[in-house]
């Protein structure tokens, strides 16, 4: 493997790992804020206890999200310095806005929320967690705007003398049609993860300790499953819109998602296909007629361009070379994203149904406990692998090939050091984090009924939130 491959593997590993924590954080903080608001408005103790319980799990999770996010910002310069030179003028702006508008907000108000339980008036303290929610939303928006620019560059001109893209319209970058559909899709997908997490944890308690805090966890189960359900509808609608925008700006990605080699009109969607990788022979396939046409164009009879004709068109436009992404990878990740996502929505419906009107969840549901929070998370991961590998061979679509972005002076040895180092460190932290998570989950609501204690006058009491 050369420096390019190593740098790509490092980006893939660190980004996929980082994104295990991002959707949990985005949704769990909002659900926690919702629970705290419910407590503030109703005064019911169960909401306070849930706020503290899920809030603690949120804090364990966000710690990992923050530290792995640091690597993201640094590695653009470390491994991809020519990319940074090429796009910094455009891409740097949303990144800087993310720091200025989002990270300061999140980090400052998290500190206030953790340590401010007894020091701030109730309403101000509640406001703090909502500021964190705002911070996570802004952060998601700006980073997705930056990513969307790589998918569909807008608001810039190419400066040949400097050999770089230069920003001409920041507003165009922030209202890129790709980010306008990607942002809701990503946020709804994140809420599927958080909802499933809340529901899964509650389900575990209801099944393993049916007598302890039953009512509280029943509420949590219903809240979590409802969040999954509502979010999954949002995911489906925004995903459909996204498919149409993608067909328009990156037709090759849509063709690759379907492994559609020849242009079809109307085009059918294959649920499952076994065939040769170059598309020359199809062995077995389940197809839904007209569906791909609808997904791609909004009309059941719409024309969808195939990989071969797009390849010809791109060669005319950009010169000789392969403009095909890894087709099996895009084909399967696209299907798994949709399939696993739908499965988690189905489980949420089933949970709401079996626990309706005070019914206890059936014990065999225990098998759903571990997979439930993981399913939407896996779907999220497949979605990102699809959207990022589907853009290849471009780093910035139509402008900068991936191979041209890598740092020219960086050695393979340096990248191997950091690749192995980060992977080993992330692996070790995954063990620590998972153990702590499971321990905290098992601990349940114990201690959450006591008033939160961060009062500096009594420092020998164990602190439930603080260090």
């Amino acid at each position: 493997m050369d420096t390019l491959d190593l740098a790509r593997w490092q980006f893939a590993i660190t980004t996929v790992y980082h994104f295990f924590f991002v959707p949990v954080t985005i949704s769990l903080v909002a659900i926690t804020a919702g629970l705290q608001t419910a407590w503030y408005r109703t005064g019911k103790e169960k909401y306070l206890r849930l706020t503290k319980f899920y809030g603690k799990l949120f804090l364990i999770n966000i710690a990992m999200g923050v530290v792995t996010g640091l690597v993201q910002e640094f590695q653009f310069g470390m491994n991809w310095s020519d990319y940074s030179r090429f796009v910094g003028d455009v891409f740097g702006a949303p990144l800087a806005l993310e720091g200025l508008l989002a990270f300061f907000l999140e980090s400052t108000f998290i500190g206030l929320w953790i340590f401010g339980w007894e020091r701030l008036p109730k309403l101000v303290h509640l406001g703090c967690i909502w500021m964190v929610v705002l911070g996570t939303q802004l952060s998601a928006y700006f980073i997705l705007a930056a990513n969307s620019w790589m998918q569909h560059p807008v608001g810039f001109r190419y400066n040949a003398a400097r050999g770089r893209a230069e920003l001409t319209d920041l507003w165009a970058v922030l209202t890129n049609k790709v980010v306008l559909v990607t942002y809701p899709h990503t946020i709804f997908a994140a809420f599927m993860v958080g909802g499933a997490f809340v529901a899964g944890v509650a389900l575990w308690h209801l099944l393993r300790r049916p007598s302890i805090d039953r009512d509280v966890f029943r509420s949590a189960l219903k809240i979590g499953a409802s969040v999954v359900l509502v979010a999954s509808v949002g995911v489906a609608i925004s995903g459909d819109l996204q498919g149409k925008v993608m067909t328009e700006v990156q037709p090759m990605k849509m063709a690759a998602a379907e492994a559609l080699y020849e242009t079809e009109k109307p085009a059918s969607f294959s649920v499952f296909t076994v065939g040769t990788l170059d598309g020359s022979k199809e062995i077995f396939s389940i197809k839904v007629p007209y569906l791909l046409s609808f997904l791609a164009t909004g009309h059941f009879g719409g024309k969808v361009q195939g990989i071969n004709s797009l390849q010809d068109a791109y060669e005319q436009l950009y010169g000789p070379g392969s403009y095909k992404p890894n087709i099996p990878l895009t084909y399967w990740t696209f299907r798994l994203m949709i399939g696993v996502g739908m499965l988690s929505a189905a489980i949420a419906v089933w949970l709401l149904w079996t626990t309706r009107r005070g019914r206890a969840p059936a014990h065999w549901l225990i098998w759903a406990v571990a997979p439930l929070p993981l399913l939407p998370l896996i779907a999220n991961t497949f979605g990102w692998i699809f959207t990022e590998t589907g853009r290849q061979p471009w780093l910035v679509f139509g402008l900068l090939p991936t191979a041209s972005g890598v740092s020219p002076g960086t050695t393979g040895g340096e990248v191997i050091t950091s690749l192995v180092g980060f992977t080993a460190l992330y692996g070790a932290l995954a063990v620590v984090e998972t153990k702590l998570m499971l321990r905290t989950i098992r601990g349940g609501l114990a201690g959450t009924d006591a008033p939160p204690d961060t009062d500096s006058d009594q420092p020998d009491k164990p602190l439930s939130f603080a260090y």
Binding site: A63, R85, L100, G111, S456, Y467
Partner: protein
């Protein structure tokens, strides 16, 4: 003023803010095991930085992101050239951040002492390596015509840069000890105060040597004056510390770190990455983004940065009460 200069100043201010703020929480991170004789004292020591360290670290993220946006060439050259030091800084910041958050989440001495090791190492390593990195930025590194770094990891470990690393550690530890004395009570406060004096003397010697050497390498009248002011502020801080005027002592070390960083940036300008190979230095003008980008960022920053300062300041006000350590 021309926007390239404005953004050079902005980047300098972000680094200054970062080292002033994270400087004391690095210091506390390196010290609390030594100063805190029991779990209560240690927890109190960590609690002094608990609500603020995460916000302090965002100053680094901002410095990085602002450099990316305003000086892409600088960001590219610096981050790819200083590859391994930055990797180790990241490792340090990762283990430290996780350990600070996880330490109190389990009531188990073995768990806590592991987290303690991670916090100490995670505070020491970045402090040392930022010193090495800034030493090298001021001293200059070999760059080729395309402003690519052509040295090795060994090139970065020169005596001047290593002195920079030791200076950063010593100054941050002093800054942290004074912060602890300012924010705690009883024995812990007294011990932190005494240690600050002893460490402060060592730090002062190192800092004087480093700043003078830096000025000899690349100084002008303005940067020399600022560097001298930094040394005077540090000395003033130490005197205030001996007199148990902890607030003033902290003002002293804050000013000293701020002025010292400013003096390094003043000495640097108009270059951002001086080269030890003639005529290949990277200047602020070479590295800058387009006027449109700089203008847009200037407007947005002018609106939102005051807001950030306001709510970060408010945090310090909310947690102004001393943490009782008895």
């Amino acid at each position: 003023m021309e926007l390239t200069t404005v953004w050079f100043i902005a980047i300098a201010m972000l680094w200054t803010g970062y080292f002033v703020l994270e400087g004391f929480d690095f210091g506390v991170g390196m010290l609390y095991r030594v100063l805190g004789r029991n779990e209560t004292e240690r927890r109190a020591a960590i609690e002094t930085i608990g609500p603020v360290w995460d916000g302090n670290e965002v100053w680094l993220i901002m410095a990085g992101a602002a450099t990316f946006a305003a000086f892409p060439e600088w960001y590219a050259t610096l981050f790819s050239g200083f590859y391994l030091p930055l990797f180790f800084i990241l490792v340090g910041l990762i283990v430290r951040g996780v350990a600070l958050e996880y330490r109190g989440k389990r009531d188990d001495p073995v768990w806590r002492s592991r987290m303690d090791v991670m916090i100490v190492v995670g505070s020491l390593l970045p402090a040392l390596l930022w010193g090495v990195a800034f030493g090298n930025i001021v001293r200059g590194v070999p760059l080729d015509q395309a402003h690519e770094y052509v040295g090795s990891f060994g090139t970065l470990l020169n005596p001047f840069a290593l002195l920079g690393g030791l200076t950063f550690i010593a100054v941050f530890v002093t800054h942290g000890a004074i912060f602890l004395a300012l924010r705690t009570t009883h024995d812990l406060r007294a011990r932190a105060n005494r240690l600050a004096t002893r460490l402060g003397v060592v730090a002062a010697v190192l800092a004087i040597a480093f700043l003078l050497w830096a000025q000899a390498l690349r100084g002008d009248t303005a940067s020399v004056v600022i560097a001298v002011a930094a040394i005077v502020a540090f000395a003033g801080g130490l005197v205030a510390n001996v007199l148990r005027r902890e607030g003033w002592a902290f003002v002293g070390t804050t000013l000293a770190i701020g002025l010292a960083v400013v003096s390094l940036f003043v000495a640097l300008f108009p270059e951002v990455m001086p080269s030890t190979v003639a005529a290949t230095s990277l200047t602020a003008a070479d590295a800058a983004s387009s006027p449109y980008t700089l203008k847009a960022m200037t407007i947005i920053t002018a609106i939102f940065l005051p807001l950030v300062l306001l709510y970060q300041g408010w945090t310090y006000w909310v947690f102004r009460k001393r943490v009782v350590a008895a």
